[in-house]
Symmetry: D2
Subunit: 385 residues, 4 copies
């Protein structure tokens, strides 16, 4: 598969095309919108989330909610385009009337202006904005439904916000989102949830922002997806590439992750024992990946999400038009986007996993693919958990 997204933050809307998706997958179109909605939720969001209420208009690739094997396209309208169109209309807008020259630290503004020779960071931030992730959540929503139909579940929960850590470490992605979505910070640990909310409240008071961490789980993936044979087919490398292409993600960890640096080998690797239906393991410190391949255990991945760089208290910077010191203008923004980051992370993981799986199964239509996934499971004889 491959996909492209397009769209500016205050332009007409976001467009996505997903090519190579199999035929014969029945899509719950409302569930696609529900994923878009999940991205807009979470404690600590600013005003825009209420404006948006995203919805994907599917324009290609399905008839009657069933995929055709043809490229899938959808469009997510930007609801505040009308207010912005004097500047951002593709044909007639005049963005020079809406200059931003006090480049904002932590954003793409400065490097983007240098890259393109722009004297106005507006075109940069319009595309670099995390608004774009709505399109990726849409793409991921299709992939999740494909995976789900194949018995593979993707879920996430927030493990840390502003230094407040959750102790919960769920054992499966199945049902995970049902529980994490109940929390305004998508946290499974009630104690930690309270403290996370308190941190965000404090940010609202002080004009600061809070980052955090999210754990993503994938359950039901058969062993042997990815490859050890060549670097660009390794599943961990593929997942890392997708995850670290998400705005604000600064680290990715598989299984024990950074903890492997202070744990000796005897406590890092997952021993195996026989079972009636294959092998069992009591630990999953590898996070479900050995040798660049899924090993039949849950994928367990963690990402670190930086605090939103638009601070109401302002950050010192330079005006690239004058070369003078100034303070970055605090546009309307969120105080904490970590809960939403989990939804985005699920989406890119779903795409990456589906794509890597299809490399192994081949097949153009759902029934063929489903039968081949079944073969993979038979071959591995891994016990259901």
């Amino acid at each position: 598969m491959k996909y492209l997204t397009a769209g500016e933050s205050h332009g007409k809307g976001l467009t996505a095309i997903l090519e190579g998706f199999p035929a014969g997958v029945r899509i719950d179109c409302a569930a696609v919108d529900a994923e878009l909605k999940r991205r807009q939720l979470g404690y600590g969001r600013g005003g825009r989330m209420k404006i948006e209420s995203d919805s994907a208009e599917i324009t290609a690739g399905l008839f009657g909610s069933v995929t055709l094997g043809s490229p899938i396209a959808f469009f997510i309208r930007n609801r505040d385009f009308e207010k912005w169109q004097a500047y951002t209309h593709p044909v007639s807008g005049d963005i020079t009337q809406k200059k931003l020259t006090a480049v904002r630290p932590g954003h793409a503004d400065y490097a983007g202006c240098r890259k393109y020779g722009f004297d106005n960071a507006r075109p940069v931030l319009e595309r670099a904005s995390a608004r774009e992730t709505a399109a990726r959540v849409g793409v991921g929503a299709f992939c999740k439904q494909l995976l789900s139909a194949l018995g593979i579940t993707v879920g996430s929960h927030v493990t840390e916000i502003g230094g407040q850590k959750s102790t919960a470490r769920p054992l499966s992605a199945v049902g995970l989102n049902d529980r994490s979505d109940l929390s305004p910070v998508r946290c499974l640990d009630a104690e930690a949830e309270k403290k996370m909310i308190a941190v965000i409240d404090e940010c609202m008071r002080s004009g600061d922002t809070a980052g955090g961490a999210v754990e993503i789980l994938v359950s039901g993936l058969p062993a042997g997806v990815g490859s050890y044979a060549h670097y660009d087919r390794k599943l961990d490398g593929i997942l890392a590439r997708h995850l670290l292409s998400v705005q604000a993600f600064k680290a990715v960890e598989f299984g024990l992750g950074t903890a492997v640096a202070h744990t000796l080998g005897s406590h890092v690797h997952d021993e195996m024992a026989p079972s009636e239906c294959g092998v069992v393991r009591n630990t999953n410190r590898a996070g479900g990946i050995e040798g660049g391949m899924s090993n039949g255990e849950n994928l367990v991945i963690s990402v670190a999400v930086k605090p939103i760089p638009t601070l109401m208290q302002g950050l010192k910077t330079v005006d690239i038009a004058t070369g003078q010191a100034t303070v970055a203008h605090p546009e309307r923004s969120d105080y904490c986007a970590v809960p939403a980051a989990g939804v985005v992370a699920e989406a890119v993981v779903a795409y990456a996993v589906a794509d890597a799986l299809l490399c192994v199964t081949g097949g153009d239509d759902f029934d063929t693919i489903a039968a081949r996934v079944q073969e993979m499971r038979q071959r591995a004889k891994v016990c259901a958990k």
Copy 2:
């Protein structure tokens, strides 16, 4: 650029082809071998490193040590192929005489056998072995020389082994390896170095292994490499993909990395101030990447390296031939490969950075590319540090 590597651990040798490398780069061929040698060093290596003493025979892409613009090929002979050829000869070997069925936890063995339907893990481990990284170090050595000629330096040092942490945080990649290579564990902090060596000594005694962490720096990269425009051109995603495709790497962090989860926005983003030649920053918590692009500061990347999964003390596992419980056979191996991991990390970073830079500069020959890098630097007017 693109590259492929081939070769089994005990086969004839490793082959690499690097395509798209510019013409007119004068290569110090001895320096390529020196990089291969660096990969073989480090306290805690087992016997094989002495056997190998790798050397790259360049077979294509250069005349008289100057690149032609044509694909570069080189071959690294495996010095113990002769002992193994009854099993591993490409044409006449019989690998069924050298079965490994007690699949080793932490290795590719189990998932690899499931993927291919093998009843012998030998073909898996022969390719999945970290021996393959020698070819990548060779590829990276060419890229480093290109970058160096363009004023861009890549270096690394070990920041942690078995829980012992270095306090050193060098401010530039320039001269970094000159210092870190002096240490048997590639650590800049003399106190930590002693403790790291002690941990490794203890592993040798107990039959355990130690992991760690490595920091990689890139200095001199102009702003604007990578892109915010589309997910697959983001520099952090690209780097992560290459780094997490390296055997044993379980986490990657940019700048503050996982620490962004417990640091508020006011202490995460790097404020800017005017300077006579552009902008200056007093901090580099972003690790040199904002909005998926280099921002003119040093790239600062950290990777976590898991302990080698071959333990002399053995790990419990299953014999896939019999389905019975057994203990993984401890083949000759290393106790700690973290110092070498840094050399591999430098190599894949060098490739990724060179490739991303060439996307911006275009150009087929060195002089053209050098002039364009100069233009990029002029545009950014970033002060030299």
Copy 3:
């Protein structure tokens, strides 16, 4: 660059995303629609062309008609979707109510049903239809404007329809379309034009269809685009890939093309002579490509276009539902689409040439790219013609 298109023939419309297009290119948006219109013209079209009157709604990648460097998206509405939506609505349509089981020879119907296991060719033909080329013409329209701003022109004319050959062989793409578009069959030879029209008239009478050939020229391309170094960077291979991915194209020829099989070497290669500003050649039998690279002469490419496979007289086939012999249903269709094929060919050539050129120039914004194209021209010192 890369691009994706989506959309079914009777679905909501066509979507395209073009990623990697440089910033700072001023787009004449009306000219994009004009290209779409050119695709709909030509003697021998059926009724649908009147229905369509295509127009691209640009939804991303531009503000005020200037490209941002961000992905460009546009949508071309299908004007007869309303009539078809009971069958083709992405969410609610029921395509099983609109079965086509008498698979049509020459179309994708049969192989598509086998590929996907469909018992209805409708989903196949909806995407396989040449309607999709409207999206590619849109993509090409952006590329043509980029090329034009760089002094590079793409044009085409029809050289044969139903065996009637044009004797015209224009020497430049500059101004070419101004002349060829005046002809209802896009033919520069008035005598041949008459005969071509007569062939089409005869087809209308007999219920047959006519194919033909189109010559595409590219003028102003500097030498050195493409590469001899690796097979996948050869300009002729790249162009062939794009051209033979167009519906109905069955052959592609560069320069003398198939005539090289009956011409000796002394009359195939283009001798060179000195000129005050470089080299000159009196012939261009190579079609502007030597060694997989542009050589500074015009690109001259010819494609053969098969007759439309929907014949009013019907073709014998099999009903895949019953396995019985039947006759393919002659849906409303065109009698000759060769003039339009030239417009599509121009579009894919424009994309391929622009993409290959950007590989050499690099650069993110128009001014940088324009300066580098100028450098390429200086280097080659090829006389203007």
Copy 4:
């Protein structure tokens, strides 16, 4: 799959890596060399072919002649490297002592020097030389053996040399090479063979060269390989890309090819009739591809091969060092390479077909892939021919 080749014409040798080839394919290594030998045969070759006698040393990807699923590497030594190494040794050669500045028309010399800013065409011609095709023939030899094991055969024969045309149009690739390889010009038509040889003899006398045409057939490929869904997955586009990346190929035709321009639709499309085991067709004017997919019939492809541009009689050109008129130096060369071109064409077709087939089947090991090809055949129920 993907592959890279490296190597200069008079350098140490040619290296190739083929990545993604399935595990479990038993390779006849002597048959790989036999393909290399086939490339060196044919009436009209110059002296070098006797020097070479190519042989592929396989260095990776197999144990005991069975593929591992790991990248395959091989090396083909250049037997006259020793004579050339003062100029072409990768480390120590001095190519400036072997200048070629009288750039040769029809070769990459001129455009290559412009591209790289070289003042010596030697580095260009060393890589642009058709010597590189030996590596591709090696790659294709592996793919042919995979296809053969799956019941798919690739063969070719020469249809024209210097205007002398063969009337033979074989109905299957099975056994084809057994017959065509018996002819010194690989022609199935004894009358035409004589005339072709006479043309070549005349070229030898006059110092001229002869081009021609080759037809390639692929038999046994199931329907549904390739795709109509997106342009870059269309089988004809993929094949064209590979074929037109071969040195000297100037045209490619599928089925009727250019003849579609003078044949009406009623005589272009292949009608279908029921048969006990699916559908049958009496014609194959489409060349086995409809809608960008294989349709279960033989692939029938024709390429036009230009005469070798190195003429003993010399061609007028410019010395790029002096800007003066001169005559291109006639280095030792062949008079006709059309028979060998067929072997190269088979190789790139075999790679392209195998790669496209694996996209549909998926699968990592031969048994899995073979079972899935069988499923495809069952689905199509196409009668064996």
